[in-house]
Symmetry: D2
Subunit: 324 residues, 4 copies
Amino acid sequence: MLTGGGVQGLEIRELPDPTPGPGQIAVRVGATSLNFRDLLMSRSTTGRIPLSDGAGTVIAVGEGVTSVAEGDRVAGCFFQGWLDGKIEARYHEAALGGSIDGMLSEIVVLPDYGVVAAPRDWTDAQTATLPCAGLTAWNALVEGQQIRAGSTVLLLGTGGVSVFGLQFAKMMGARTIITSISDEKLERMHELGADETINYRNSENWERDVLDATDGLGVDLVIEVGGAQTLAKSMSCIRFGGEIALIGMVSGQAEVNPFPLLSRSANLRGVYVGSQRMFNDMISAINVNTMQPLIDQAFPFEDAQSAYRHLRAQTHMGKVVIEV
Amino acid sequence: MLTGGGVQGLEIRELPDPTPGPGQIAVRVGATSLNFRDLLMSRSTTGRIPLSDGAGTVIAVGEGVTSVAEGDRVAGCFFQGWLDGKIEARYHEAALGGSIDGMLSEIVVLPDYGVVAAPRDWTDAQTATLPCAGLTAWNALVEGQQIRAGSTVLLLGTGGVSVFGLQFAKMMGARTIITSISDEKLERMHELGADETINYRNSENWERDVLDATDGLGVDLVIEVGGAQTLAKSMSCIRFGGEIALIGMVSGQAEVNPFPLLSRSANLRGVYVGSQRMFNDMISAINVNTMQPLIDQAFPFEDAQSAYRHLRAQTHMGKVVIEV
Amino acid sequence: MLTGGGVQGLEIRELPDPTPGPGQIAVRVGATSLNFRDLLMSRSTTGRIPLSDGAGTVIAVGEGVTSVAEGDRVAGCFFQGWLDGKIEARYHEAALGGSIDGMLSEIVVLPDYGVVAAPRDWTDAQTATLPCAGLTAWNALVEGQQIRAGSTVLLLGTGGVSVFGLQFAKMMGARTIITSISDEKLERMHELGADETINYRNSENWERDVLDATDGLGVDLVIEVGGAQTLAKSMSCIRFGGEIALIGMVSGQAEVNPFPLLSRSANLRGVYVGSQRMFNDMISAINVNTMQPLIDQAFPFEDAQSAYRHLRAQTHMGKVVIEV
Amino acid sequence: MLTGGGVQGLEIRELPDPTPGPGQIAVRVGATSLNFRDLLMSRSTTGRIPLSDGAGTVIAVGEGVTSVAEGDRVAGCFFQGWLDGKIEARYHEAALGGSIDGMLSEIVVLPDYGVVAAPRDWTDAQTATLPCAGLTAWNALVEGQQIRAGSTVLLLGTGGVSVFGLQFAKMMGARTIITSISDEKLERMHELGADETINYRNSENWERDVLDATDGLGVDLVIEVGGAQTLAKSMSCIRFGGEIALIGMVSGQAEVNPFPLLSRSANLRGVYVGSQRMFNDMISAINVNTMQPLIDQAFPFEDAQSAYRHLRAQTHMGKVVIEV
């Protein structure tokens, strides 16, 4: 539980085991994963169980529950009320690990509509990587100007969203360009299918490398997680009529001049996780294509603080997991 | 012709009457209209005939032309090569009054695919208002997240794009909110169908008035022509999942924090005029609905400089026209 | 209640007043309306309260209900579980007056998510016309290849869906063509905004009249309610790339050759009512545009059988209502 | 040249080498391919050079041509005037091998906008498979309800469109089900990535097998090439809200009852080849994913009649090619 004072205020608390009421289910959590948002939450929130992402096994179902059964392996949905269709402001009122308690707990009780079936043959640790980072990348690729086989997608860095973005983009037949400051990480990205890699330590103006790699046209989609240090560059290497999925601001909030959007007739689309239907669509895609998530490191429940600190160091590649 | 030195460098030149080659047509221009872009062009361009917008009568057709006939009343297309489908960078290489000569001329020669049939029963002055401002407003309403009857659209000020946006939005059954610093202009906007008007002279935080007028939800679409002084406010009164059509920067280029797009899962879409097909669609809509454009004032050809100065003063409501 | 044997088996039954459980509401029904589907249901269903369409006032709310309050004026949703997003097979398992009890009752109990707020200032009789016919017409116009101002829409006959289709299409700035065998009805349709009317008693090949009225191009959208006697004709007057919304088969199920869809690259889209979000969108549109539904005739509760018979005679124009 | 009397009327004629006029190019054709349409054309057309599909090398360019250069390897576009955007009736007036002369010729002259650059490293024979069958399959998958990774696509038989459909669907991460009467062909389809295969010789009601393979839900998309013998079955195994791309009628034109489209809220979308932009998109996808087309057999120019007869026998798998 977050008790204030950031990561060092994260403490284990003994709570009575919760029981599911009508329409609810109880899930024994096997693993959770961390997102950049969780670092922000740890600073701003007190008295709440953190983490949006978790997966486990249903151990009890309340009265009237028919869509889920004991023994089902499930993941929690980031937005507990966004089932399908367009986003609504009110869905933000039930966001796990934010406006309501999250998944870093041995047992959680959720509404029956608040979970999805885990990918076949995935461990809890693997499944726990999906609810925020996986779904955000999926939403970015599929729900805006949906990319096509042959589209070019730009990924920034090797955090959770970017690696999922790379994997899903390749699954969809797209061409991918990814940046990092580490040749070693870029090598790993090549193995995951990256078509072009750019080490921006050697190349301050990496947006020019992106233009060069696209015959000067720019990319169809940027999965923009960087914020202050990247957004202006992303806007200058987007294709006419293309789209920037605005996802995160890891390097801080940016003030940018949006004029390039106008001259290039491009979109800047805010992407914030997704609905239960998108989550189910993504899991179908994973099941058909037998993908594996990239887990950087897994920490034990007792050492959750270390997991937070590891994420904060921004040296990871893929997802940071806490096993419960 | 623009001879350098801004508006005062605009001079009348005697040129030989052009003749249409194969696949070309000659149009006797009856009227042109001015856009904010033309002020920018007058400062940056030399040796070019200005103005993207003009309408007139076909007086000769070249070899092989079958789609247009002598006597047809037509308007020129802003992009001479964007016929249909997605925008491409190369279409910018043939933009009237920008990368190529424009319409402020007694006779112009254009490719046969570079014009559209004028609305039935409109004068040349009326038709000349459409190619840039009309089509931009149409594109904003129809080609992104197309609005629906019952959607709420926010218009900023009473310039050409905003007034067309108001008229087309009402034609489509939407609810409209429009801002101005003049009660008199707002009164006129009411007559044109505005559902809500906001005088921002009295209301510095007009975005709150917009939120109040929408039960706190915000608007589905902003037709954002303001730039520096308005964009941040527009972002704070957009509905979750809504869209801001980024069109102009009349009050200067802005540096904005795009974070509200992320938290509201909203789009910022660059809109820059449109294709020939969109133009034809818009004219069909005008013909079915018997709309009339709002012309602020018409100037004679000899007094084109005054037209430019009138636009620059930003006291107009609707379009400024030059009759040829 | 339907007791078997078709319309004559429709009987009034005294039932105890239902009370809303947790998450439920009780509605005192003020009026209901009939659809062609209800004739089919009366033949095939026994032991069920009929009618999908009804409107009234909330008289009690169960535990935990916050979205609806006593005194609210509401309409029931055809599909009690389709809130937003794409249709799913399972939503058919909770269709009012079909798979579950319907609205022809003094008091009904529904889940709190099973209603929408009535249009402002509409009577119950007016509101009761919307859930099936109104929403079907809205869905046809908006959720497929959404029509635009200036599009041409073809309506067949003057039943509930067609009249709503006409009104909504005009609200959206479209051009409308409507058919009937009665000049008197066509006259009324002109008053409601029809641009072209075709009396098919005099014109067996009315599809040619439609082509003539569209310069040989055909219409952008057909709201196809006819079935056996009309579908082939509709396919032969659809525009290249256009859409036929397949809604009903009033004149019987048809065997048709779909080849014209192929040669014209056209869509035949099955449209079956719509989601709660679409219903709310439609009501927003009604509120902004102050539309009134066309009610053919209203019957008292005791005379429900006469209402059914009147619908079956197919001489109506607009909706047939039963007041409770 | 088709001289009447069907396939046996196909004769070689000596014609003077054509020269490209302004805006035209001359292409030395290296290979062509056959489609089912060409069988129909051979019966109905006289005095025309047949075949829509061909690829070769540009050997001369006319005045003013800048987009193509001598030595470029290109394929012809089925519709010589459909560059981008929505289909229009007038594009049918310039369809290669149909309304105008086709590609079964040593040298053809085409407008410069009538070709696309061939996939990198493909032979002329490979490239010649694309213009009709490849692009039709691409259009079906991408331009309607675009499939997603994880969607399920049903392919009927192993003709050109179906095999391309299978390959592109796998490239996009979809799940594929394919039917055939030959276990040997189904084995080959497995190698190309088919997830499920159905031998309909053993399974008259193959639509039930499709439902079984999809947990009773049905498929998201059918690429329907069969017509009379398959369309009704396709409609009964389409998912709620899904789409049938209506492409061909190899087994004859069908009369079908479209009622299942209504009850399932499904689309029947006529798909007829595609635009130049779609063709370029498809080639980008091929270049990124290094796909190879499946060529059943290649015939020499002198033996073109045998190629036609081989296609007519319907024993092929993939494309039938004529090398020039």
